[in-house]
Amino acid sequence: MQNIELSTKDLSVFYGEKQAVKEISLDFASRQVTALIGPSGCGKSTFLRSLNRMNDLIDGAQITGEIWIGNENINDPKTDVVLLRQKIGMVWQRPNPFHKSIYENIAFGPRYHGIRDKKKLDEIVEEALTKAALWNETKDRLHRSALSLSGGQQQRLCIARSIAVNPSIILMDEPASALDPVSSAKIEELIAELKREYCIIIVTHNMHQAARVSEKTAFFLMGELVEFDDTSKIFTNPSDKRTDDYISGRFG
């Protein structure tokens, strides 16, 4: 039995009248990659964004159900979202580094969380960039603008930025789909590396990618969870006909 890092119980998301995510209950284990797949508009990104309460930013979005981390239901309105988000990193489809230097991009979070010591910050920056496989490429130009990096490098910088605040969970919303194949492959390698330490939940359109990087896969369709199982099982012998249709490319 694996350690459960995060689990949802009957999680639903409404945009006004429309229900985008329908009563989803899922468990995510530590040190494991879970892929969320499904056609566009199936609610997988919306589901992902509820896990760190990012949907709070959207007017008219309403989230019901429970999200448990340890023994705390973080979907409770009383939850301190600022503290919560320190525990959950997030990476988006398009790299979105801050308009600051490479060093500042990484140091920004930890410094806010109370680390003022320059030496300690230097260490955090080096460690985060090393973990994100970006240290060798950037160590000589840490104080150049982050926007001078290539798209793939920027995305790895965003990953480094999120691990610098020491989360236990990392959410990734199609992290490689805006990148070229080489950069995309690097991100995948990185994910394989990072899962030794983190619980990673990744939304992807690319089924090969899901098959390559994840241990578990959840298939979403029209806001519902159709099937959740070991990745190998989903891709070779799915139990639901709809999963089979999607995997074999009959729709989506």
Binding site: N52, M54, L57, D59, V82, L83, L84, R85, Q86, K87, I88, G89, M90, W92, R94, N96, P97, F98, H99, F108, G109, Y112, H113, R144, S145, L147, S148, C158, R161, S162, V165
Partner: protein
């Protein structure tokens, strides 16, 4: 007349009118600069005005205009930023927010003379600040605030949602996100708008007639103690600005060289506003370059 001829005629008319506007513009600028620049000298810019003799300058007025601008901006910028940030980041969509938007729009369309009268009643009389730079600055703040709020809102709206989300996802508070991530990105738009607004404040006169007053005491430019009544820095003394001065000498000027002084002062005013314009463009372009730089 067939369609082709009509098309040609219409095009010609449109081009003609566009040309007319350019001519008006050129004529206006040319007139003021040609009439005025000859009168501008170091002496003119620094010496005090004369009431009935020739050779008066605009020194105190120029100083008053600049000082009043600084005072106004010191009050307006934090208030405008705060209110603009509230409208773009904290206000929840709904009836109350719509209503605030409506009344801010109303305030921005109030004639400046009405704002001046309000200043006369409230700042000069009720609060007892008298005809003073401070009353003037408050009136100009009322006059300028809606614009400042709109500029801030536009600036904040230009920040990509992804930047805001990235910061919040790192576990930063909303206020820290606004201050450290969003404001720097919004800065080029806010700064450019603020400089243009400053140009507007610099040239405003109607709101000042009954707040900052239409006269200046004899200023002692060697006394920089803000509390002494003769000091140029005293915010509670009456102060006639450059724009008010132009109005005054045109309507009741007794000096024989009043038209020349008006022309010279107008030229100074226009050149300053032009400088504000150029500065706004230059800073806007520079900051844009800095933020999108690939280096």
């Amino acid at each position: 007349m067939n369609a082709k001829t009509a098309d040609k005629v219409a095009t010609a008319v449109i081009i003609f009118f566009a040309g007319v506007i350019l001519l008006i513009m050129a004529g206006l600028l040319g007139f003021i600069l040609v009439r005025g620049i000859g009168h501008i000298s170091f002496d003119f810019l620094t010496s005090p005005p004369e009431t009935i003799k020739e050779g008066g300058g605009i020194g105190p007025q120029l100083f008053n205009s600049l000082f009043l601008l600084v005072l106004t901006m010191i009050i307006t910028i934090p208030l405008g930023l705060g209110a603009g940030i509230y409208m773009s980041e904290y206000a929840k969509p709904g009836k109350i927010t719509d209503f605030i938007r409506l009344i801010v729009e109303v305030l921005s369309s109030f004639p400046s003379i009405v704002v001046g009268l309000f200043g006369l009643l409230v700042f000069v009389n009720v609060f007892g600040f008298g005809f003073s730079l401070f009353s003037g600055a408050l009136a100009l703040t009322v006059f300028n605030l809606p614009l400042m709020v709109r500029i801030t809102e536009q600036g904040m709206a230009s920040v990509p949602q992804a930047q805001k989300e990235a910061s919040l996802a790192l576990g930063l508070s909303k206020w820290k996100t606004i201050k450290s991530i969003m404001l720097p990105i919004a800065m080029p738009i806010i700064l450019t708008g603020t400089i243009l607004a400053a140009g507007r404040v610099f040239g405003e006169a109607a709101a000042l007639l009954f707040t900052a007053g239409m006269s200046s005491p004899r200023l002692d430019f060697s006394d920089w103690n803000p509390l002494s009544p003769m000091s140029p820095l005293n915010p509670f003394r009456p102060a006639e600005t450059l724009a008010v001065h132009i109005w005054k000498i045109n309507s009741e000027g007794l000096a024989p060289d009043a038209p020349e002084i008006a022309a010279g002062a107008s030229a100074v005013l226009i050149i300053t506003v032009l400088l504000f314009n150029l500065l706004a463009r230059w800073i806007g372009r520079m900051l844009h370059k800095k933020f999108t730089a690939t280096k």
